[in-house]
């Protein structure tokens, strides 16, 4: 077929083609005398970029419970949660984030109108697949200052909470932080409307029902 006139550069064949050689492959041997590129984890640490999109942080005072984050989330990982701390009900619902769903796109952070939702560069969360350990994957994020404080003590980019206890009957949640602090609050209900007006919903997750052991 006839091609339209070619008005761009086409590389000549001589530049692309190579000549086979028996000897040249041996030149690779020079790498025997070079330093390896391997990062010796766990003895060495990798540098994580400053704004690495890791776990979330939430300033509970700034959060106005607008549910923009819940709406933009591609995985529907965010659920607005009504919380009671020390007997005081928070005026607005706060996002509860499920890391079993989260894709770390942080669109939720982009759309947050007050800047309450943010992210830190922590990325490591490893658990056994057991009911009580998998609780860790579903949390209401904590204040960024608290995470920073923990990060200074343990600079290994791990999840700031070691254990989350969720009492199914009283709906009481207990965070056990890595530095030994304990934080308790109570989940009153889910959704945008306050739980007193809306009907109380059944237990939230299906993943616990499916477990065998």
């Amino acid at each position: 077929m006839e091609m339209e006139e070619i008005d761009f550069k086409v590389a000549p064949e001589s530049k692309i083609k190579k000549k086979p050689s028996y000897i040249k492959p041996w030149l690779g041997l020079k790498y025997l005398f070079k330093k390896p590129v391997t990062i010796k984890i766990p003895y060495e640490k990798t540098q994580i970029a400053e704004k690495y999109r890791g776990f979330h942080s939430l300033d509970w005072k700034k959060c106005i419970g607008c549910n923009f984050c819940g709406q933009i989330c591609p995985a529907r990982a965010i659920e607005m949660t009504w919380i009671e701390v020390d007997g005081k009900v928070e005026k607005r619902p706060h996002p509860k984030i499920d890391y079993g769903r989260c894709t770390f796109c942080q669109f939720c952070v982009d759309v947050c109108p007050t800047g309450a939702l943010g992210f830190v560069e922590n990325f490591m969360l490893t658990t056994e697949w057991k009911d009580e350990e998998i609780e860790l994957f579903d949390w209401v994020p904590i204040h960024p200052d608290k995470i920073k404080e923990i990060n200074e003590k343990f600079p290994d980019y791990r999840f700031p909470v070691v254990k989350i206890e969720f009492n199914k009957e009283t709906k009481e949640v207990t965070y056990y932080f890595r530095d030994g602090d304990v934080f308790k609050f109570k989940i009153l209900g889910y959704g945008l409307r306050p739980p007193a007006a809306a009907k109380p919903k059944p237990a939230k997750t299906g993943k616990k029902e499916g477990n065998s052991s």
Partner: protein, 391 residues
């Protein structure tokens, strides 16, 4: 499990005519667990060590992106669609964004265009390094593969700095990009990395592309001619290896490519070696393009469109219409067709991966007559990306 003899017996009872036993054919299920196929399965009918018939069996990675995209708001789809192609996730981001830009009638700011071009070229370099890794593992030159993977990590670190993620960047969005360039330090680092990878290219040549063994393994296998390639919808380096100078960057220019200077490599042989050499030369050209981009410096200005409609992202609406956008990826012509009915979600998104043409009919025909040891090499020389077949 049923045994082979039972199956054959049953097939005979159902009136199927089987090949006579003395012809010595057998079936080989190649993949999906085998690393060479990358979650893709080929059913081979073998005669001794020659392939008599091949059937491609895709679908192990199908998640129904096109359906999922219809259920999510316009912006959110970026976080989803980039998972179509793991080695270069920026390409689906870019085509989807370009199609939406066209629908919105947006003129993307110059700075955003510069960043998008740079990101696409970085993705091309990292995808080619990934491909060199795969090829050299399949050829048995493990050393070169280890190098390629290590050099790719440098680009990954740069991506991390720029976008905030290592692999799935979620960076190019309709109307521009998500973040600004971190600063001059990042540009310097990119320059260093480009120079570093460029200085390492001769080493790859020595071990892989000028190696006598490579020539022996790849010369004359998987041969396509021009007519066959065009009829089968082959694009990208695979088509250029048959003598057609088709490059989307030149023939349907987008972003900053009209201003950039690079050569389009074309060879006439159309065998696995020609495809490999074309890719090798394109890697060099991509590094050259990155150098030019760095010389141009990013133009000042905003990095995304300023539009009042962007205030409420979840309810952001796109005017009704349809648009097609495509870019040149390392695999070939990667296109997106986006239809909007004026709502806050796309009406239809179709992603056209190049591998859907390469991976099914072309592969089935190229494999016939090949030896079993050549199958991974042919597969790798076509540079298939199974997720973009399955979507």
């Amino acid at each position: 499990m049923v045994s082979q003899s039972e199956l054959i017996k049953e097939a005979r009872e159902n009136g199927m005519e089987l090949l006579p036993l003395d012809k010595d054919t057998y079936e080989l299920f190649f993949g999906p667990q085998h690393m060479a196929t990358e979650n893709f399965s080929i059913i081979l009918k073998m005669d001794g060590h020659r392939v008599v018939k091949a059937i491609a069996n895709p679908g192990f990675l199908h998640r129904g992106f096109e359906k999922l995209a219809e259920l999510r708001p316009w912006y959110t789809n970026i976080a989803l669609l980039l998972r179509i192609c793991v080695p270069e996730p920026d390409v689906p981001e870019a085509i989807y964004s370009m199609a939406v830009d066209e629908l919105m009638g947006w003129e993307v700011p110059e700075r955003a265009q510069w960043i998008r071009t740079t990101v696409l070229e970085m993705a091309r370099v990292s995808a080619y390094l990934f491909w060199i890794m795969g090829l050299s593992f399949k050829l048995g030159v493990y050393t070169a593969g280890q190098w390629a993977a290590a050099y790719r990590e440098r680009l990954m670190a740069l991506f991390e700095e720029l976008t905030g993620a290592r692999v799935y960047h979620i960076y190019t969005i309709p109307g521009g990009v998500r973040r600004d360039i971190p600063g001059d330090k990042w540009l310097r680092q990119l320059k260093d990395t480009v120079e570093y990878i460029k200085s390492k290219l001769p080493d790859f040549d020595h071990l892989v592309f000028e190696n006598y063994i490579t020539f022996k393994r790849m010369e004359g296998i998987g041969v396509m001619d021009k007519k066959f390639a065009l009829a089968e919808g082959v694009t990208g380096p695979n088509l250029r290896a048959t003598g057609v100078p088709y490059d989307v960057r030149r023939m349907d220019p987008y972003l900053l490519y009209p201003e950039l200077d690079f050569e389009v490599p074309v060879l006439k042989e159309g065998d696995a070696l020609a495809r490999a050499l074309i890719r090798r030369y394109e890697l060099e050209q991509d590094l050259y393009i990155l150098e030019q981009l760095l010389e141009m410096r990013p133009p000042s200005g905003p990095y995304k469109v300023q539009d009042p409609r962007l205030k409420n992202l979840p309810r952001f609406k796109v005017p009704a219409g349809d648009a097609f956008a495509h870019v040149e990826s390392t695999k070939g012509d990667f296109g997106a067709y986006v239809v909007s009915d004026g709502g806050n979600k796309p009406y239809r998104v179709q992603i056209r991966g190049p591998s859907i043409a390469h991976g099914i009919r072309v592969l089935e025909q190229l494999l016939v007559g090949a030896r079993i040891a050549d199958v991974p090499v042919i597969l790798m020389s076509l540079d298939n990306c199974p997720p973009d077949i399955d979507r």
